[in-house]
Amino acid sequence: MKITRIKIGAGSCGIAAGATEVVDYFKKEVRDIPIVEVGCIGHCYAEPLIEVETDKGSVFYEKVLPKKEHLDRILGLKDEGRLAIRSQRSEREKIKVLALAGRIDMTSMDEYLANGGYEGLKKALAMKPADIVEEVKMSGLRGRGGGGFPTGMKWSFLAAKEAKEKILICNADEGDPGAFMDRSLMESVPHQVLEGMLIGALATGATKLFIYCRAEYPLAIRNLKIAIEQIYKHGLNKLNARTVEFRLKEGAGAFVCGEETAMIHSLEGKRGTPRFRPPYPTDSGYHGHPTAINNVETFGNVPLILREGGKAFASVGTQGSKGTKLFALAGDVKYPGLAEVPMGVTIGDIVYEVGGAEKGSVKAVQIGGPSGGCIPADKFDAVVDYDSLKSLGAIMGSGGLIVIGNDRCMVETARYFLEFTARESCGKCTFCRIGTKRMLEKLEKITGGRGTEEDVAFLADLGPKIIKGSLCGLGQTAPNPVISTLRYFRHEYDAHTKDHKCPALQCNQLSDVKIHLDKCIKCGLCIKTCPVHAISKEFVVDNAICTRCNSCIEVCPKKTISRVEKGTGYYGKSGGN
C-alpha cells in the first residue's frame, strides 16, 4: 500500500484535542506526502484523528500525538492506534450531509468541486425558480434549526413576494449548550452550506445572502470567508442574469439572536430582541424587506436534494420527517461526537449503538438543548421524528443530544438548563424575564435541600404559563426541561423536597463524601489532591470542611471514595450538619 495523502482532523474539536501541534509536527517531519487539514468526521472522541489515504483505501488513526512513535506507526500503516469504527455505529448512521465533512480540505474549493460540489447549483441554474421550490417541497425537508417548518413552503412565501430587495439569511448562531452540528458543517464543508444558500437565492429571488454566525466560531468564520472569496472568484455568485452578494455578520454572543426576529434586529444594528409575529419575516423582515431565514444544516441539505432529486431525498425518513439528522452526541456516552442518522431511528439506537452507552447506565436523554425536554430510558424506543418527539414533551431542536447517566440528578439537570435560558432571556417579556428567574430560584432551593412541595407545585404551575405568555421560542420553550423532568422524574423532585435526599447524590447540599476504608490502599493521592484539606491522615473526609468538589473521587485509583447520603459521612468539630 502506498500512502498518497495524510489528512488531519483540524476542526475545532480536533484543535481542542491538540491537532494543531500534530499538524505542525507532521508537516515538519513528513516531506514527501501531502499533509492536509480537514474538518471533522464526527468521531470527536477519537481526536486528534488522522486519515491516511492509500492507493488501497483509507486507514484511520485515533488520538494521535506529535510523537515519533505515532508518526512511525502511521507511516508504517501499523495496526496499533487504528480507529475501530464499530459496526453498530456504521449500521445506524447514514452519512449524507456529512459525506464530505472531514474528508476534504476545509479550504479547498477544488476538492469540493471534485467531489460533486456545486452540481446541485448547476442543476438549479437550469431550472425555473418555481421548480426548485417544488423540488425542495417534494423532498419534505423541514427546518433543521428546531422549528421544523417545511423549507419549501418558506421559500415559496419569499418567492411569491414582489420586491426590489429580498433577503435570505443563514442562521448560524448555534447556541445550545452541547450542540455543534452547524459549527462542524461550516468548518468542514463551508461550500456545501453556501451552495445551499445560492440555490435558495435562485429559488426565492433573494438578492442579499446573510450569514449570521456567532463570533465564538472563529474557524467557521474563517472558512466561510475563504469559501465566499472563492465563490466570488469563480463567479458562482452570478445566478444567471443577476449577481448576489454574501454578507457575513458575527453575532455578539446573545443566544436569543438565534430567534429569527431578534436576528433581524441584530442585523439591523438594533438590540437583539424578538418581536411579535405576524408580520412574519417573509412579509416584512430585514429593514422591511421580505426575508427568509434557514438554518445551516437546512442549507447543507439543499445541494443533496438538487443533486439526487427531491423524491430520492424523501425516500429516507419517516412519514413526516424526511432525510437525515445530525446530532451532537454528548454526555454520559463512550463515544461522544457528531452523528448523522436517518429520521426514524430510535433514541436508543443513537444512545447505545452510536454513542456506545451501556444499557442500564443511562436514565434519560435531553434532546433539543435547553429548549427541549428529557426522554426517559424506558421511552428510548421513540423514533427521531419532529412529531413523535413533540408528543413526548421534547423537541427535535437543532440536534443537541445530551445523554444523562444514572448518577446525574434530574432536578440539577433541569436547573442547569434553566439557568442558561434565564440568563439568555433577552429581558423583554415579563413571563420569560421574571418567570424563568423565579423558577430558577425554586430549583436552586430544591437542589440546595431547602425545597418544599409548594415549590414543586409552583414550578408545575408557572412553567406552562411562561410557555403560553412568551413572545418567542426562547420563552416558549425555556420551561421544557423542568416540565419534562417533572413529568418523568417527579419522584426525584419528591425525594429532594419530602425526604431531603438527592437519589443521584449529585446535589452538594444533600450528600456527603466518604472513603470506604476496606478497599483503600492508603496511597494518599486524595489527601494531596483535596484543595481544602478535608481528608485526615487516617483517610477520613471531614464533611464540615469538604466542598464536594469531587477531586478525591476522580483521583482515587481504587474508586474507594464516593458520595453518600447526607448525614452518613463524618463531620468534624469545625462544623455541623
Partner: protein, 677 residues
Amino acid sequence: MSITITIDKKPFAAEKGETILQVAERNGISIPTLCFNQKITKTTSCFVCLVKDAKTGRFVPSCAMEVADGMQIESDTPEVWDMRKTALNLMLSEHSGDCEAPCTIACPAHAQVEEYVREGKKGNLLEALKLIKERIPLPMSIGRVCPRFCEKECRRNVVDKEPVAINDFKRLAADMHYDSYMEEMKPFTGKKVAIVGAGPAGLSVAYFLRLNGVASDLYDKMPQPGGMLRYGIPEYRLPKGILDKEIAHFAKMGGIAIHCNKELGKDLAIEDLQKKYDAVAITVGSWKSSAAGVEGEELAVGGIQYLEKIALAGWKGDNPGKTIVIGGGNTAMDCLRTSVRLGSKEVTCFYRRTEAEMPAEKIEIHEAKEEGVKFEFLVAPVKLRKENGRLVLTSQRMTLGEPDASGRRKPVPVPNSDFDTVADTVIAAIGQKTIAPKGVKANKWGDVEVSKENCRMEGSIYAAGDCVSGPATVVEAVAGARRTALAILAQIESKEFKEPYLLNVSRGKWQSLKTDDLVFLKDPIERKRTPQRLIPEHDRVTTFKEVSLTYTQAEITKEGERCIECSCTAKGDCSLKKHSETYTAKPDAMVGEKPNFGYDVRHPEIILDRGKCIKCGVCVKVCGEVVNQNLLGFKFRGFGTHVDTAFSQPLPSQLCRDCGKCIGECPVGALDWKLKK
C-alpha cells in the same frame, strides 16, 4: 367593516389591519395594557393584554395581534384572568418602591400623611386639615393623644433615628382652622341612624354618615359627650375645652344630634331603635376595669373609674395621699400623673415586668418620671388589706421567663419574695373590659360580636370602636368607625359592602433598611426633630393645664422639611397598581430576588427610579421615535435588563430638552418629575 370576530362569544365587526385591542376598546371591552402606547411602534413586552385565540388555543397579546375573519377571542375567562394576574404578580415580585408612604399605611385610619405634612410644610394648613379630615374626624383630640403609629414607621428614622413629628401637623392644622373649616357634605338622603355611645367611635360613625348625607342621633349614658376623651384622658393631655370645641363642630355640620344621660338597656331599648332608625350603631366603648384577681382587691379603685370620678368633678379632687398604681399601660400613667396633680407627694407605679416591656408610650413614662413618679419594676400584687385605716399591699418580686403569646417575656414569681407596702390609695389600672349592653351579642372576651366582613352584629345593628376591638386607641376607633359607617351606608343603599383591594408595594420597614436601600428625590436635610415645648415644671405638677404646647407655624415648616417624601411619585397615576388591584395581584405572590439597579437623580428635574421600572420599553421608544433623541436604551439581558443612558452618563441637558414625554408615557413611576406637587 369587512371582517367579523367574536370576543367572549359576542360578534363584532372589524377592519383588516386592526388589532384585537382596538376592536375590544371600540366596543367597550376592557383589556388591561401597560406597554401599549399609540404614540410609538409596538413594544409587546408586558403581556397583561393577553387574550386567548380559541381556535388555535394560543394566548396572544391583543395589542399586537391583528384580527382575522372568524377569529374567536376569549378575554374574560378564568384562564385569561389567571394569565394576566400571573404577569402582574411577576412584575410586582421585582417591583421596589412604596406605593404609599409607610406612615400612611401605619396609620390605622390611613390618613394621607405625606400629603398633609407637605401642605403643612408649605404653610397651607387649611389644605392640610382638609386632607386630615378625610380620614380623621377628631384632629384636635387625636392631634394631642395619638400614640403616633405613623411616626413609629416613619422612614426619616433611617436617616437620623428621629421620625418627623407628624401628629403635631394635625394639632396645628386643627387648632388654626377649626373655627372656619367646614367639610363638603352630600345632601341629606332622609335616612337616619341611631348611634349608642358618643365617644370617638360614635362621633366618627356619625361623621362619615353625615358626609354621605345620612343623619344620626347619638345617645350617651354620661352627662356629656366625648366618651373616653372626656372621662378617661386627663385634662392635662386633652383639655376639655378643646374637646368641647371639637364636638361642637359635629353640631355645626347639621343632622347630628347628641342626647346625653341615655343608657341602652335602661333608657333605651335596642328593639325600639331598630324600628325607629334605618340602622343602629353600638359604640359604647370598653369601660370596666379588669379585675386583678387578688385577695382584697375591692379595696383598690379601678384605673378608669378613678379618672372618671375626677373628670366628673371637673379635674378636681382630694389629695389621694400615698398612691400605688398597679399596671404599666397608658391608663396607669394617666392615674399616676393625675395623682401627682391632686397633691400626692408619693406616687409609685408597680409593674410586673421591666420598663422595656411597658405598654405605655415612652413619652408618657418619661414625663411621669419628670413629674416625680416612682417606678417599681418586677413586682406583682398578692394581697390587699386594710390596717389601721391605711391600705397594706402585699407584693412579690418577679423575674422574666420565657416569652409568652404577646412575645414579651413572661414574669415568673420569685419564691419567698413577698413584701408589704403601706398606701392610702391603690389603683388597679391593669386593663379594661367591655360590658356589652342588654340585647347586644358578646363574644367570649365580652366584646360585641360583629361580622369581620361588614361590622354587622345582626339585621341593621352594627358596632364599632373599643366595644368591638377591646380597649384600643382613639385613632383605631376612628378607623373602625369609618368602616362601620361605610358598611351601614352600603346597607342603606342596598349594596354589598366590600372593601376594595388596595395594592401596596413597600420597600420594607425602616428597621431593616439602610440609606442605600432608599430612594431620595433630593438629599435629606440635616436637621434634628423639633422638640416639643412644654409648660413650666411647676405648673405640670400642680395644675391640670395642658402639658405640651402646639408647634408654631414656623416650627411646622422646619419639621416638614425633614420629611423625605418616600411614597411613589406616580401615586394615583400608576397603571401597574390599577391593574393589580383589578386582578388582585399581590407583591408577595411570587417572592424572589429583586434586582437593584439603583436610581438616577442627576438630572435637575427628572428621576429615573429603576426599581419601579417594568421594562416595558415605552420610554426608550418615546425618546427615540417621538422626540428623536434616543437618549434611553436597554442594557444587559435576562433579569439584569434595565433602562439606562449611554455609558450611564447623566441625561445631557443639551439633548434632553426636559420635555418630559418619557415621564408622561411611563405607565409606572420609574421616570418622573422629582418635585411632588
